[in-house]
Amino acid sequence: MTSVTAAPRGVDADPEVDEKTEAPPSRSGNPWGYILRKIGLFLLTLWAAVTVNFILPRLMPGTPADAALARLAQNGPVSEATKAAIEAQLGVPTGNLFEQYIQYLGQVVTLNFGVSYTFYPQTVSELVSTALPYTLVLVGLVTIIAFILGTLLGVLAAWKRGTWLDTLPTVGGAFMSAFPYFWTALLLLFFAGYVWRLFPTSGAYGPTATPAFTWDFFVDALYHAILPAVTILITSLGGWILGMRNTMIPTLGDDYVAFAEANGLKPRTVALRYAARNAILPNLTSFGLALGGVVGGSILVEQVFGYPGVGYLLFNAVTNQDYPLMQALFLMITLSVLVANFIVDILYGVLDPRTRR
């Protein structure tokens, strides 16, 4: 989890009196202790998440085979042969819970999540590894771009407070982010895709292209990604602008900013190194949340634009009760949240010396 450790309150015992004797030893010199602690925490939460992912489905009564048989039984009696076939296909748990857990851990480590029911006979690993790059590149990259762009605009808005450079991004951003995502998406699809035929309306690449690391495929994929990317950018940019502007304005009133001005530092230095550098810290937490939501939160984008990413896969897995696929995807979503938080924790450590203790 992203944790911002506030500087510990002086427990009424600052060694103020003998202050002139010696500077206290630096506590920010060695970053490795901090990084190792964060890695340890990451591994621990990862293990917990993997274990919960194992336990949850087992709390449901019956096995997948039982569920499939029950569905079949509604249409008439099920023969022993059919039953044996389904059980062979879906598998029946053997051994006690602990043995199953060990077996499961082994499979997770080797990325063996079994075979998908919906896309039989493709394995879950194959499906996920094809879909993941599309989602990561589209949603992940756009989230990062939106964060950087929005933060810069927010800095500018706060610095030029009260001018049109403030009003335009602030009001515009609030206006655009008030649109529901799907509505913006449909509007863009209708005009840019259908009426003006500027962009394709679905898919990650054209019907004639084959996924490969070639320039032609890259251009084609980029072309297909523009509409969904623009939609995400439009709806999320406003939040970053407002967030940064609102943390930057109080920071501009802080004493170190006033002192920097009193010392005659260049306005650019004051705005970026003093104000923005500190104002960005609280926004990193929301950035972490947004990054963590990339994999799990892409369902709507990918559904509207028929984009074959993880969200699309998850939607299919849920509607078709594809347990192996679902379980792998849930693990992916958890993992992406953990990784995003880990990245933000490390970022905090780099950007804020006070967290490195």
Partner: protein, 562 residues
């Protein structure tokens, strides 16, 4: 001597839409080169506003609406923003009030110096580090602090760094805006010494802005006294002290006394020795409620034995902190006991332990049959109806969203059986007790509509709501202007004399301790180093630490400059 700064008829207004407040009115004065001048005034007098205007740092809503500020013959209002920025090297430098927060928490000290050198280019790049080391040595810090982040340094060290940074601009004029106010007493004294030494060795002109006439008279050659936006007196320090002309100056001076003197008197307070058991004033406060009077008969002492509080290490790899170390004392009914010491001496921790905010590591606190240390959550009501706290910062101790009446009704309803109209009557009675009249009017006010002194009275009224036997006052007047302090102290004294409330008075201010307490305990690093009758201990201190504390009391009658 030549004139460095010439301020003529300067008027500064705070403009919020149509709402105009005159913060500084038609002020004129000048500073000669190499002078050390003090600018004294209470909060709201406009002294900081004036200081910012001189440094060319006025920001909306403050607007300089009249007059001019000439620095070396140049009108600073005529400079473009870029020229103003450039003149900060070799012009006016400013050290801010909260210098401890004036450093960027994510940049090392070295980078702070580099930013300034880079902005003005007055030091060769290969000399940057050497110059920075030289500057921190001037403020008596080791060069090793350069690689620290501000959060790793103490408040006093940070204030020294910001003085060094201002010094790196090679200024002609240094404006110090309350440079030591936020610091601990002992550190305050040391930092002031450094400022005085630097002014003499570096030869800059200094303007010291302070609310504390004592601090200013100790260091400045000439003093400007500011009141309500006007300079009411401008005279050499000696004549301010010996023959003050203005009533306001005289009033400020009357609130200073040497806690070591044989007879210590402040406005409204006769010397405790002379009073000898006679009340300070007759019938000054409203009598306690019937309920309260009934309980006076069975008052109990607070008995503290071998109290120890150890906090876990503040940071990884450090030793644990012994905040309170085997302290024993008894607070008898109706007694007033002072607990004095610098910050970090453990005095506030003792307050937290007695009010059961914290649990003692070992030792015991007994109040009648209550064992305070072993109280569990949910058992605090009995303790808190008898022992109440008055906090240091009246600005933070009141919820800004609630009216005074609401704030006072809560404890009345929580601790007494009064409800509805009776509770309201009790609230108004409390307001009358603390002297906030007309009571109806004050009951309806919100905290931001009150002055600091009025807020502190509300805080005291809140503490009185449960008719407590003991009041723990943690630096109750340190955030208030001098002229308001005496009133609040008098109120506490009257409550003790007429209601029989005993008081644990926690402070670093030995003068106020001398005025309102019978007995004193001096704490140093959690241990009691000296105790006894307040007047005896202060007149004839035995421990070095007590002497240090006494020496750090600003004293107008002792000049530190030759």
């Amino acid at each position: 001597m030549t004139t460095l700064l010439d301020v003529t008829s300067v008027t500064i207004d705070y403009i919020n839409g149509d709402d105009v407040t005159h913060a500084v009115r038609d002020v004129s004065f000048s500073l000669e080169k190499g002078e050390f001048v003090g600018l004294v005034g209470e909060s709201g007098s406009g002294k900081s506003t004036l200081g910012f205007a001189i440094a060319g740092l006025s920001k909306p809503p403050a607007h300089v609406t009249g007059g001019q500020v000439l620095l070396d013959g140049v009108d600073i209002a005529s400079l473009s923003p870029e020229q103003l920025r450039e003149q900060r090297h070799g012009g006016v430098a400013m050290v801010l009030q909260s210098g401890m927060n004036a450093l960027n928490p994510v940049r090392t000290i070295r980078n702070h110096f580099r930013d300034i050198f880079e902005a003005h280019g007055h030091i060769e790049k290969d000399r940057w580090d050497a110059r920075a080391a030289e500057l921190v040595q001037k403020v008596k810090l080791p060069a090793t602090v350069l690689d620290r982040y501000p959060g790793e340094l103490s408040g006093g060290m940070r204030q020294r760094i910001s003085i060094a940074l201002a010094l790196s601009l090679e200024p002609k004029l240094m404006v110090f805006d309350e440079p030591t106010t936020a610091l601990d007493v002992l550190v305050q004294h040391a930092v002031m010494d450094t400022i005085i030494e630097l002014q003499q060795s570096e030869g800059f002109t200094a303007l010291l802005i302070s609310h504390d006439l004592g601090v200013v008279l100790e260091s400045a050659q000439r003093v400007l006294v500011m009141h309500d936006g006007e300079i009411v007196e401008d005279a050499p320090a000696q004549s301010i002290l010996n023959s003050p002309q203005d009533d306001y100056t005289r009033m400020l001076l009357s609130h200073y006394a040497d806690p070591r003197a044989d007879v210590v008197e402040l406005p409204g307070f006769e010397d405790r020795g002379k009073r000898a058991g006679k009340p300070r004033a007759e019938g000054a406060v409203h009598p306690p409620s019937v309920h309260g009077r009934e309980r006076r008969s069975d008052q109990k002492p607070i008995v503290v034995e071998n109290l120890t509080k150890v906090y876990p290490p503040p940071r990884r790899g450090e030793a644990e902190v012994v905040a309170v170390d085997h302290v024993s004392f008894t607070l008898d009914p109706g007694e007033s006991l002072a607990l004095v010491g610098a910050s970090g001496s453990g005095k506030s921790t003792i307050a937290k332990l007695i009010t059961a905010v914290e649990k003692p590591t070992s030792g015991s606190i007994r109040f009648g049959d209550l064992d305070v240390g072993s109280l569990r959550r949910g058992q605090f009501r009995r303790l808190h109806s008898e022992v109440q706290m008055v906090f240091q910062d009246p600005y933070a101790a009141l919820n800004p969203l609630h009216t005074v009446e609401y704030t006072l009704t809560r404890p009345v309803v929580n601790f007494t059986k009064l409800r509805g109209r009776d509770a309201r009557r009790r609230v108004l009675e409390l307001l009358e007790t603390v002297g906030l009249t007309p009571v109806e009017e004050f009951a309806a006010k919100l905290p931001h509509q009150l002055s600091g002194g009025q807020r502190q009275r509300v805080v005291i009224a809140r503490a009185l709501a449960s008719d407590p036997q003991v009041i723990i006052a943690d630096e109750p007047v340190s955030m208030l202007d001098v002229s308001l302090r005496a009133g609040v102290l008098a109120l506490l004294e009257d409550l003790r004399e007429q209601w029989g409330v005993s008081m644990l008075y926690i402070t670093h201010d030995l003068l106020s301790a001398r005025i309102v307490t019978d007995n004193i305990m001096v704490l140093n690093q959690g241990r009691v180093v000296e105790r006894g009758d307040t007047a005896d201990v202060l007149r004839n201190p035995q421990d070095d630490y007590t002497v240090q504390l006494l020496d750090s009391v600003p004293n107008p009658r002792r000049s530190r400059v030759a």
